[in-house]
């Protein structure tokens, strides 16, 4: 279980996250939804223990996140993180050196499922191929928590379906998946629980099937409601 307890983060006096309380359970797919600059990436980096909170704490298995939790929490950043001279296969080896839980067979399987040849150089990849490579490298870890920051950014329809299938396949009762996106429609059908973020705050948390059952609203409609209401009040 991953727990965020009144987590705040400021950069140079500017608050980007404020009192974020969340409990994320295994066996579920969560979405962090909000416009750019709402704090999604910052929260993920805190959970991945790449940043330290200004106040509050993020607990994994009841311990503050840090070196130990990094072994079980996989993070997919938005920016590319491979050297351009590497081949797709080299990226696998590079990852295997970094992460004990990296599974080369799973990496190969993911690559073939997403139809990405292993002999290509990173520098020759299109943005869609780079996105697939990033996803394959991250999901090939046998982690317990996957934090995927904007996995569908700049990706065409077909690649998106392949990535979505890989994400669905990697969920099991022990795994927590967190996706962030500002494109709500794309992930509407795969999310258990949506966390709406606005200006560094958690505006609302809701189960997406309940939303459709009780309110007859789609995730996209709910998103508009929350983001616009708040804007009007502000």
């Amino acid at each position: 279980m991953l727990e965020s307890r009144s987590v705040s983060k400021s950069f140079f006096g500017k608050t980007v996250l404020k009192d974020v309380d969340l409990i994320l359970e295994p066996g579920k797919i969560y979405a962090l939804l909000g416009p750019n600059g709402s704090g999604k990436t910052t929260w993920m980096k805190l959970a991945a223990s790449l940043l330290k909170p200004t106040s509050g704490e993020i607990l994994y298995k009841e311990e503050p996140v840090g070196l130990a939790s990094r072994k079980e929490i996989a993070y997919l950043p938005t920016d590319p993180f491979f050297y351009s001279w590497m081949t797709v296969q080299d990226v696998g080896r590079y990852y295997a050196d970094f992460f004990e839980d990296f599974q080369p067979e799973a990496f190969e399987k993911l690559l073939s499922k997403m139809e990405l040849p292993t002999n290509l150089k990173v520098r020759t990849l299109s943005s869609g191929m780079t996105a697939k490579l990033k996803i394959a490298a991250t999901l090939a870890r046998n982690a317990k928590v996957y934090l995927l920051d904007e996995p569908f950014n700049g990706i065409d329809l077909l690649a998106r379906n392949q990535i979505m299938e890989s994400i669905i396949s990697s969920l099991n009762p022990e795994v927590t998946l967190v996706l962030s996106s500002h494109l709500v429609e794309e992930i509407e059908s795969v999310i258990d629980t949506s966390i709406f973020m606005k200006d560094g705050l958690v505006a609302e948390v809701c189960n997406t099937e309940d939303l459709r059952t009780r309110e007859g609203l789609s995730l996209t409609q709910k998103y508009r409601q929350i983001m616009q209401n708040r804007a009007n009040l502000g």
């Binding site: 797919i29 379906n161 299938e165 669905i168 396949s169 059908s189 795969v190 258990d192 099937e209 459709r212």
Partner: protein
Amino acid sequence: MKLETTVPIYLQVGEEIKKAIVTGKVKPGEKLPSARELALKYTINPNTAARVYQHLEQEGIAMTKRGMGTYVIENQDLTDQIRIGMAQELVSHFVGNMKELGFSEAEIVKLIEEER
């Protein structure tokens, strides 16, 4: 299949499976895909896929054999039952909408006859 985003997904996928039974694509007693396979087929959440089967079990259409998976129940009348059930739902939805528009029952019947 295109999913409606404002209607619960477990109901929509459940309807698809019922249609497959009614049209004979899936036979009584046949094994249904696992929840994971269902999730991949429709690109939906695996927990929602599991809920589809819970729902079909509650409706008496499917049963889960422990450790073996989910099966359509082995009842030859099932197809007719589902077909009638689905028809009743469609009719009640239609009649409700027509009444909202101010049509009487007699007028509704007449309109249906003219439609043929």
